[in-house]
Amino acid sequence: MARVPLGEWVPHVEAYVDVSRPAAQHSASVDALATLVNKDRLALFDLVSKMEMYLTTTDHIVRSRGILLLGEILSRISVKWLDVNTITTLSDFFISRLSDWQAIRGALVGCLALLHRKQGVGCIVFADVKRLVESFLQNVQVQSLAAADRKLCFQILSCILDRYPEAIKTMDGEQLYWICEAIDEEKDPECLKLSFHVVEVVMKLFPDPSGLAAQFASEFFEILSKYFPVYFTHGAGDDLNATRDDLSRALMNAFCSTPYFEPFAIPLLLDKLSSSLPLAKLESLKYLDNCIRFYGADRMVRHASAVWLKLKEVIFSLSPEQLLLTSGSAKDAEKNKNQMVSETLNCLKTAITYIDSSDKDLFINLILLDEDIVNKIHSMSSAEKSILSSLEDLAQVNALGSVISILAESSTYFCTRVFQEHLTHLVDILGTSTDYESRQLNTCNGSSSAAVNYGALYLCVQMLASCREVALVSYAECSSLKLAKESWWLILEKKLDQLIHLLGLFLTLDSRSMQSMFRQEYDACAVKGLLTLATFPEQCSPLQANAFEDILAMLTSVITSKFENVDLWRLSLKALTSIGSSIIEFNASQKEVIYCRTVVDKIVSLLESYDGSMPLSLRLEASYEVGTAGLNHMLRVARSLEGAVVTNISKANGRMECAEYVAHLFECYSSRVLPWLFTSGGINELALSFAMHLLDEIKDLSMLDRISSQGLLDSLMTGMKLLVGVCTEEQQTLIVQKAYSMVSSVLPLPLKSMTRCLLAVDELVPSHSVQETALIGMLSSVIVGLRLQTPVPDMIVMINLFTVFLLNGQLPAAYALASIFNKYLHNPEFSHENQLDKIFDDILERCFSTVLANSYSKISHSSVDISNDANFLYVSSGNIPSKIDILSGLAWIGKGLLMRGDEKMKDISMFLLKCLCSGETLASTPAHEEESCGSDSSDTSIATSAAGAFNVMMSDSEVCLNKKFHARIKPLYKQRFFSIMMPIFLSKIKEATSMETKLALYQAFGHIISNAPVPAVITEAHQILLVMVDSLAKLSVEIQDKDLVYNLLLVLSGMLMDEKGKECILDNIHITVSVLTQLVSYPHMMVVRETALQCLVALSTFPHSKIFPMRLKVLQAAIKALDDKKRAVRQEAVRCRQTWQSFA
């Protein structure tokens, strides 16, 4: 590569050396030079020889700049290969420069860059490192340097320690003393972090007991100890490269670096444990934990008793009040406390596991024979009042419990020791207090004083839990455990029956007199005890089968009978579920049988019973929760839910709440049980059999009659859809065939004749009986849930059938037709696609004519014969509701087509448009100026429902045509529909003359806009903004359009967030602002007012000159809104007013 001429790079050097230039220019010139060197366009040798004058001049400012430049360049070419000579020359130079205190910065940077170089690109030779260390130690007085230079020193030091430790290994005491001196009194956080690291590595370098570390431990620790506990309040945002946690961790590592710190560190930490600062306590606990691990048992043994005493002090003195005093708020105190408790217990655990190695009994004796502990346990038995009376008692008992359980769960031996010492005794205490209790119960006829000994109960349960932990860890050697004399297993076995009996007693106790706060503690304890016993690993469970069954029976009886105590009920249910899943986990088949018999059977029977005393939601919850324990259980639950539904349908109880009941059952079945079964893969035949079962049930007409009279139909239909939806294709085929054959056998319609063509309307329209409607409803739910590939028998007949009912105004028939056309219209499996097309056209024509027939006939009627008018109105008004239904049925069919992107959808939307404008045709006919108000309303209602139809087509629905029911959904269909309809609507709106028509068009267009994706709408903003704003103004008159107004307003606010939308709004700012200010006092909906105000706030960011003319208007509106009846609006008004006021 060609070299650069001198003239190009020398100015960079000059710029850097010149102190008066700005810092940005300095760094730019270094970068430029480094790039040149990296690209080989400038030889390092040339550079150095040209810079000779700068590097050696006697002017120390220039010299230091020169050396610094060389150092900086060197640090930026760390990946460029350099030969040995260059490296040696450079290291010679920089090492010699270390003695030049005026230019020390450059020397440090250069040394650091040399040390950082990697092996492959030419690195400093070892002899030079040694020389560097010597020169460094001899010449650099770290503490007299500036912070940045000190940081460099520490970086050099730690880099040498990390990469060339041999260079330091040969050091003598004097040099170590130099390090001490260097880090003494250091205050800069970044330097501190590095210096802690230096200490850590140095101490690790000399593990020899007679080595330097041992000699200097006290000196180093004296320096380190000043920083403990780390108090450092700068947060992450303070641009410092160190946080409190970093510092604290670095210091901790330094503390743990060598066991020679032990004589100094442990007393310091123990001392700080009694500090009143929570921070100091927490830190000491953390450090102590780590130090115990690192220093080793031999060294820690002599501190064992001191450690225990201090930890005991901390554990038993953690009262919430004390913590409140030391820190700010209650929340902080709570958080601190939790952290402190967990840290303390961690530390205790570490102490127990690490200190015991030499003398087995040392630590356990310390704890078990500790006077306080012994006294506390004894006081429980002696004092009659040992029931819970205050939070403080509770905290004490909890603390004691955690100490005991940590002790017991650390090893089998400890567990045995603890059990020998306490279990028998505690169970006896519990027994006597309960005896006393049951005596009371007998005498006072149920109103107990609940003198249960909570302390004993809690400790027993804790001990149970820890021996289960021990068993879990070591269940391989269980057999030896059972044989060993006096092992915990034998002790537990001896007391087991009594214990189970007692725990069960607590569950059945009726302790209403007890303070509710503590009631929960008792319950939780008892349930936890039972749960622990029941979930012992199979091999070493002391529990016999009958005892296991007892426990299950106790918990189950809580579920079935004590549901008024919600906490206990939930706890027991959870316990049962975890017992169930632990059985599955341990693969205990015998227990599973018992579980099924005692728990699942009983709870599932709750579903089938008619017992009204227990709320249904609880029954459902219990069944579901128990089901989650295992697949078989859940299948069982599903079956019994099915049974419950069927019995509820078939039972002629005539209650209205039955419908709600069934709806709940279905809800639980479909939203909880089925999804669970799905995820665990056990679904297969279940839904099929349920669906078949349902179809069997509704076979006869009297049943159908009752179902619809009791309002069950809706929930049954929803349930059926969901069931069919989850079935596979083969299963669906079976269901649909069965449903179809059922309908064809029951329905008194001439189905056979439907195969060819549609029957005449007049023949079919006579309204159908309730039963038939219900039957069609069920058939339609089956059709709605079908998958794309499922074959349907006699599709033509079915389509005809549904059409008949659609013309009769039955919406379910429309759902079915919509699903059919959405899924099958061009499915190649059906050879008769042309036929389908034709049929579809037929249906549409039929619908169109039915909807329009009356209005046209009415027109002719009323124009011809006014005297007949009254008579006619009677007839036609009877038809209006069904016409509206047909319209929305058409909308559903249109939605089906729209979602699959079919062209025929156009026919429907055009027809709907025609309906929207039906008022227009009337208005244009002069003969109807004096038209009676009755017929007028019919036209508007048709127009309104046609507008609603567009909402149906565009919005997502739960009823049918969604993912759950396997609808065919073309991507972006909403966007496409929006862009097709937009120009048509715009021109129609322009043409419309009468107010009614305009309103209907606005409504319809509003539905389309608000359901279309916002980005799509924004791209057309320039075309539709004015229409949108105008429809906001017009629609805000009527209350029934309030949701539409809100949705449109949200679209508008979306536009305000977009650059393009903003531009467009800016062009029409006057009209937009005036509509928004009107909406600020929109009376029907609070969120509309609020959003309008927010939009106005957003508008205030527009160019000043544009919005200033509107300022007064906005302010008036905002001031009016200050007195709004809703608080949220007032709040927004304050903001709006302030923003618009402030740019005066």
Partner: protein
Amino acid sequence: MVMGLINANPVIHEKKERRVRQAPETTDENAVEPIDQLEIFDHIRDIKDPEHPYSLEQLNVVTEDSIELNDERNYVRVTFTPTVEHCSMATVIGLCIRVKLIRSLPPRYKVDIRVAPGSHSTEAAVNKQLNDKERVAAALENPNLLDMVEECLSPTFD
């Protein structure tokens, strides 16, 4: 001469919980939510103290209980307590509260601002100054003073 702070080391109190907004479905569209003490307090709690980066709430200068309100008779009285007796900032704080309330309340309200009895050495003078319409108007004409007020109010309009 370098001016020291009037109260160099004020006691900082905890901020209280804010009112949580109810979900719109659960609220009745037509129910009236009258202006209440807490709402007034919400307006003035975040006003920044002129000399510290703390809010009036944190310094306990205003509390919810120090606000008297009669919605029917369109009357509000705010009683505030300066942190120290000789606090020369008392008038500025009072002015901030007044400006904020004028901007936040419907114009039908009459706002009365007072120093808590016994909490300030020149109580009567301060009260008089704060409730004299002309003097308040004159004070707001003073650009320095107005800047100061705006500065204190800036965090309350977020």
